[in-house]
Every structure is written in structure tokens, then in C-alpha cells.
């Protein structure tokens, strides 16, 4: 705890120094809410050094507030308009007058029943009923996703790969274009071979599978490299908040 205070002091000193160096640009914020935001920002950043009391505080606050945030969102944006208002519109007259006049849609009794079934987990007598609701959820997820993935990720991606491996542009051979297309077709084929489960990766098959791994590694390296900049932009955003909104050091 004492160590944490030392770090707090060092942090204040650092920002104080920055403030002094840029004296006169703008005054430090006098808004209490901005100070709260700045405190929480620094509390989270302090985790980079090590776990400490400020981080623990921020983390526990975050968990409590955000859990409630999503629950309230679910209540007001899903439960009230999409269930209660559908089953018995007059109830929501006080909160959503615009839709209180609509006719009720009684088939919404089904999700209500499923929701209650799911809560039966808490019942000492028939917790097994909650499995029915779960079975419904799992059935829905698997059924919907089977077709979706088949369509967009299987058919869609294969269709995009149906390309000529020799590209002719304006009547002459395009070396670059052909090379790129060959890499795409061979890359997809070898990548798929890498994923084969029931055949030993030996001989020619093994070579293709090795090529597949290299293609995957290029993919991973490229995606990683591409992302780095984005990750930094998030930090830039936070620093602008700390240095500008809070410290008043930016124009």
C-alpha cells in the first residue's frame, strides 16, 4: 500500500512537471467529472507497472457499474419494448406511450415461457426444466449458424477463389496478376490441406501442409502488423484526454 502511494506521488509529480513546462496554454480542468475520468484512466494505466490498490479499485468499480449498465440496457431496450409491450401494451403507457396503442402479439408468450423455464434452475424441485430452454437456445444457435457459415464462409469464400491462374490483360500475359492468382489458389488449397485431420501429413501431402503453415504464418504476421497502428491510436485518444481535457496542455 505504501509503495502504491509512492507511485501516486511520482505520477502527480510527472504530470505536474508537464503542466509547469507548458504553463499558459490553458488552465487545468476545474470540472470534477473530468478529474474522475482522469483518476480512473491513471488507475488503469498503473496496472502496467504492477497490480495495486488504485487498479483494484478501478477494476471492481468497472465490474459493478458495467454489469448494471448492460442489465438496465437489456431491461429497457429488450424486455420492456419487445416482450412486455408486445404481450400487454397498456402496461407500458407510462413509459413508452408511442407503442402502448398497438395490438398485443400473444405469441410472445413463448419467449416469456422459455425465459421462466431458464430461471427454473433456481427452483429446488425442478431445476432440470431449465435444460429445455437451454436446449432451445443451443438448437437455435446450431441450426442458424450451420446454414450461415455454409453460405457466407464456405460457398462465399470458395466462389471468390474461382479465378484464372493465368491472367490475360489486353491480349497479353500479365505476369504479376498470374503470380498473385496462383499464390491465392495454391495458398487456399495448401491452407486447407493443413487442416486435414484424418490423413497423415507425409510425402507430397506433408509438403503441401508445410506450405499451408507458411501461408497461415504470413496471414498471422500481416494481420498482427496491420493492427499495431490501431492499438496505438487508442492510446493517443487517452493521452489527448489526459493532456488536453484534463491538464489543458493542448490547443
Amino acid at each position: 500500500m505504501r509503495k502504491d502511494l509512492v507511485w501516486l506521488f511520482a505520477g502527480i509529480l510527472f504530470f505536474g512537471l508537464l503542466y509547469l513546462l507548458n504553463w499558459g496554454v490553458k488552465a487545468i480542468s476545474t470540472d470534477l467529472l473530468v478529474w474522475i475520468g482522469a483518476f480512473l484512466t491513471l488507475a488503469i494505466l498503473s496496472f502496467l507497472y504492477q497490480d495495486n490498490a488504485f487498479y483494484k479499485f478501478a477494476e471492481h468499480l468497472f465490474v459493478g457499474v458495467s454489469a448494471a449498465y448492460w442489465m438496465c440496457m437489456g431491461f429497457w431496450n429488450t424486455l420492456v419494448p419487445n416482450l412486455i409491450a408486445k404481450l400487454h401494451p397498456p402496461i407500458v403507457k407510462g413509459v413508452l406511450p408511442a407503442i402502448a396503442e398497438k395490438p398485443p402479439e400473444y405469441w410472445y408468450i413463448i419467449p416469456a415461457a422459455l425465459g421462466i423455464m431458464f430461471l427454473m434452475r433456481l427452483s429446488p424441485k425442478a431445476p432440470w426444466i431449465s435444460r429445455w430452454a437451454l436446449a432451445f437456445i443451443v438448437g437455435t444457435t446450431t441450426g442458424l449458424n450451420l446454414v450461415r457459415y455454409l453460405r457466407s464462409d464456405f460457398l462465399g469464400q470458395i466462389k471468390s477463389t474461382l479465378i484464372p491462374v493465368i491472367v490475360v490483360e489486353n491480349g497479353s500475359l500479365s505476369v504479376g496478376g498470374s503470380f498473385s492468382n496462383i499464390v491465392i489458389v495454391v495458398g487456399v488449397l495448401c491452407g486447407l490441406i493443413y487442416f486435414f485431420f484424418s490423413k497423415e501429413h507425409k510425402g507430397l501431402f506433408g509438403v503441401a501442409s508445410r506450405v499451408g503453415i507458411y501461408i497461415l504464418m504470413i496471414t498471422f504476421g500481416a494481420s498482427f502488423g496491420y493492427t499495431v497502428m490501431a492499438r496505438i491510436s487508442l492510446l493517443v485518444g487517452r493521452m489527448r484526454f489526459l493532456l488536453g481535457d484534463w491538464m489543458g496542455l493542448l490547443q
Binding site: 419494448p81 462465399g156 497502428m229 496505438i232 493521452m239
Partner: protein, 300 residues
Amino acid sequence: MNPDNPKMGFFETIANIDRRVIFLFIGFAVIIPVLLSFSCTEEATPIVQAVYDEIESLPEGSKVLISFDYGPSTVPEVQPMIDALLRHSCEKNLKMYMMALWGTGHNLISESMQDIIEKEFPHKIYGVDYVNLGYKAGNQGLINVILTDMKKMYTTDARGSEIDAVPMMVDIRNLKSFDLILSMGGGFPGIKEWVLFGGDPGNIPVAGGATAVSAPLLYPYYPRQLLGLLGGIKGAAEYESALIKGYPKFKTHSHPAIDMMGPQTVAHIVIVFFIVIGNITFFIGRKREEGEKREGGVIK
């Protein structure tokens, strides 16, 4: 540290450098350029230009659905794209329908409306030129529903008016009523879901902006299933540049993405530097190891 071989100790220290030293470098690489307002210029790449050209080609009064599929955490990356796209759409007199698949997107719509449309284009009328449809839960399920019936989910707009009382909503039946879908965000649900559940089955053009992390993942959809894409802050900066090029009057407006490129570039160079150092020390370390092994009579 090995006291008999201080040089080796040095390389070992560098190779196994405490991550907190790297953290410190990154921190300074961002703070200093932010303080000095250092910036760079950008040129639009084809994938960004495609989005610009599509909006440029839409006739006046075309309906554009803009989905705010992001949260405060990605605001620095996505908001500049939204601002630029809204300015462009306003300038082209397109009808803007704003909605959110993310709960967090809800507020962002009101903020964007205030900051861009109401402030910079005060002649635009709510309900005629733009509307806030707000957030609805359901992720891809929501897209699935509005693909066939928009008003099943949107019984009111975000301000609580009955949906059919909003003039620009009268002739909207479902997603197919729109000329272009712009999904901004890139997480889940986001552009991928719009392509899979909206664009593909409904044959509606989809474009969008994504955080740089999700952009590579969306490349396979471009250009057939996805018209164009702004990838990360760089994409946003490119769009801002394209907009300024097309409409020089926007030069005086804010262009946060262009401003943000400076600190990112510096931090980037720091990371490249650490990768290089990491590899050099790794190779020197390995050479030494091999040398030692030979001395010990073990040749691998």
C-alpha cells in the same frame, strides 16, 4: 548477469528486457508528439477511395443506412470516419438513417448528430434529412429481422415518435429500401454481420469503416461482398484527405484522424526498433551459445 562475461550480460539484458521499459518507451513515443502536435499527410488507397466514390455517385435523396456498431473504446478510431462520412453525405444531400447494433452506439448517434449535422449543416431537418433510429438488441438477429421487416423492430425512432410519423420512414419497408449500408465499427456485431445477414441475402451494397484490427479480416469480402472499407485511423485519415481534396472548404473543419497519424507513426517506429533490437540480440545470443558449445566439445 554473468560477471565473467559482461558483454554477454548486456545482450541478455537487452534480449530479456523488462516489458515495463518497453511500456515506458511507448508512453513517451505517444505523449511527446501529442504535445508537439506533430502530423503527416495521407493519400487515399483504392479501398478507401471506393467508399468515397460510391457516396459521390449516389443521386440526391438516396437513402443511406449508417449503423453505429462501436463503443466509446473505439471512438478515437471510428469517430473521425463517421464525421467525414456524415459531412460527405450532408454535402451530397443524402437521407441519413442512423441506427446502432451496439448498445453503446446509441449515445454516439446523438453526439454525432449534434456535433456534425446540427452544428455544421443547420438547414438539415430531423425526420426529413436524417433520423436516429437508436439501438436495438439482437445483433445479427436484428439484421435478419429488418431484412424483411424494418418496422417490426423499429416501432418508434429514438426520440419516441411513432415510426410512421417520421416523414423519411414512410416509404421504408425493410433493408432493401436502402441504397447503401454503412456499418461503422468492425467488432461483433459489425460489418461482417451486415455483409452476411444483410448485404449478401438482400443484395444491398455494404461499405463501412472498421478498426484496423478487424480490417484484414474483412479483406476477403472486398470488393465483391463489400464495396470498400476504411481501415483504422489511417483509413479515416485517407478519407479526410479525399474529402478535403473533393471539397476544399472542409479543410478548415476538424480532421482528427490526420492529426492522430503523427503520434502513431512515432510509436510505430519505436516498435519496429524494438523488433530489430530483439532479433539482433537474439542472433548474437545464439552465435555465442553455438561458440560455447563448440568449446565444450559439443557440436550440434
